[in-house]
Amino acid sequence: MTVPRLQVKSLTKYYGQTLVLHSIDLDIAEHEVVCLIGASGSGKSTMLRCAGRLVEYDHGQILLDGVDIASEEMPEAELRRRVGIVFQSYNLFPTMTVLDNVTLAPRKVHKTDRAVAESRARELLELLEMDEFADAYPDRLSGGQQQRVAIVRAMATNPDVLLLDEVTAALDPELIGGVLKVISDLKASGMTMMIVTHEMGFAKEVADRVCFLDEGRIVEEAPPAELFSDPKEPRTQQFLQRIIEAGRL
């Protein structure tokens, strides 16, 4: 039996007295894409932030290739190199050019030569059709372009896993397609991903498995074809019903 690439084991998280994640278990195999769906406030972002070790959690474990990410065996720098995170609001550094945004972590955290870091950055930018903006500042770019740069930045260290948190939620409708295309291409190239999304059509298309979260629990977990056409749990049915009524599926 092979060890899952990313493993979430009875993850429990409180914000103050509020239980936000309730004993979550989830395995993501290498090359697998798992989408997290669920109502706003159900705990999707918190789960992703725990998996990316951006926030501390109270109980449970997160394992990367079988190694606890909070343990001594996983140095901070190694974790950051192997896990890339992309946010809803892109969060590019506005005082730096696109190229500097992308090469910052390789150069300053992982001590990669500038020339090496820049040539890899340019390759990635070209792949996502952003190479002509290498020397531009982020506020000169559209939201879709900024998000593509943010994806490149997360990919700059050649990570094993990408965590994406509603990366199209802040975009104008006509810009969403381009970013979703990039993610589909990443899947095709074999990237392991955990994706929080509101785009049900996209989840259907890109996910190997979809998890429906409600009040901090994974209520239902199935391949998209199954979960979207034949949901078992009443709460999943209600959620999907609301989505359909809103015309988003």
Binding site: L54, F87, F93
Partner: protein
């Protein structure tokens, strides 16, 4: 995106007002300003007190005679200003950074920074100048400079640094949380996060406030005149004490005024550009 549509009416001709059309608003504002100024001048000069005022404040001969001394004093003001401002910008940033550090090992630095800022923001700058400028040279501490000029400048630096540290801190707080999350996700440590993400944005956010601080310091350097530093105000006062005439003060005032204009215009220009940038960002 250019849309080809041959039936569409032609675009409006570019606006090219004639010279006289462009000059009209300039002319109108010039004339109306001139009329108002002339009215005020006439009113002032026709008053019975005007000759006395002119003799006391605008005595041409006294102004001319005092100019070299006051100007050389003013040159000292400018040098103190530049040096003090540079030190203030660095020292206050250091205090703001110390105050922002997290983790128990930095508790002493945080505490020291809070103490420094609280104390010296609460004490009047003039009092500090008197205390350090007169007090410390009198102590004759071995190994410390004994010049009033040095300690007076230190007093200004301390007073302004406490204030400017809070300006920086406001700028650092205003940096969006997502920036710190991104820095963490990339693996930047606390200092790298400050160096590459937080501080550059903080400085950009508070640039107008920093510039205002510099404008204000330019004038407050004159506080050093009370401890006998022969700056523009001190020189003017020495002349006044001899001539019993305030015109030398007017020379100093005019010099300060002239020096303040470039920085004030620069602040305006920067703020306008900044506003434009923010507008761009919210597209």
């Amino acid at each position: 995106m250019a849309v080809q549509d041959h039936d569409a009416p032609p675009p409006p001709a570019p606006l090219k007002p004639s010279t006289s059309e462009r000059l009209r608003p300039v002319l109108i504002s010039a004339i109306s300003t001139g009329v108002v100024v002339a009215a005020v001048v006439l009113l002032v000069r026709s008053s019975e007190q005007w000759p006395a005022v002119q003799r006391q404040f605008f005595n041409w001969q006294v102004m001319k005679d005092s100019f070299p001394k006051v100007r050389s004093g003013f040159w000292l003001n400018m040098r103190i200003w530049v040096i003090a401002e540079i030190v203030i910008l660095a020292v206050s940033l250091a205090f703001a950074v110390m105050r922002s550090l997290t983790g128990p090992i930095f508790a002493p630095l945080r505490f020291f920074s809070v103490l420094f800022i609280d104390i010296f923001r609460g004490v009047p700058g003039l009092l500090l100048v008197l205390l350090l400028g007169f007090g410390l040279p009198a102590l004759q501490l071995p190994g410390f400079p004994k010049s009033a000029l040095f300690w007076g400048t230190v007093a200004l630096v301390i007073s302004y640094s406490a204030y400017t540290a809070e300006v920086y801190r406001a700028g650092m707080t205003s940096v969006h949380d997502g920036q710190r999350a991104a820095a963490k996700a990339l693996g930047l440590n606390q200092f790298q996060t400050l160096r590459y993400a937080v501080i550059p944005q903080a400085i950009r956010n508070v640039m107008p406030a920093l510039l205002n601080g510099a404008v204000s310091l330019q004038k407050d350097v004159a506080l050093l005149s009370v401890i006998g530093i022969r700056d523009a105000v001190r020189e003017a006062q020495i002349i006044k004490d001899r001539t019993f005439n305030y015109s030398s003060f007017m020379v100093a005032a005019i010099l300060f005024l002239i020096a303040s204009i470039p920085l004030a215009r620069f602040t305006d220009w920067y703020s306008a550009r900044d506003a434009e940038r923010r507008l761009q960002q919210t597209r």
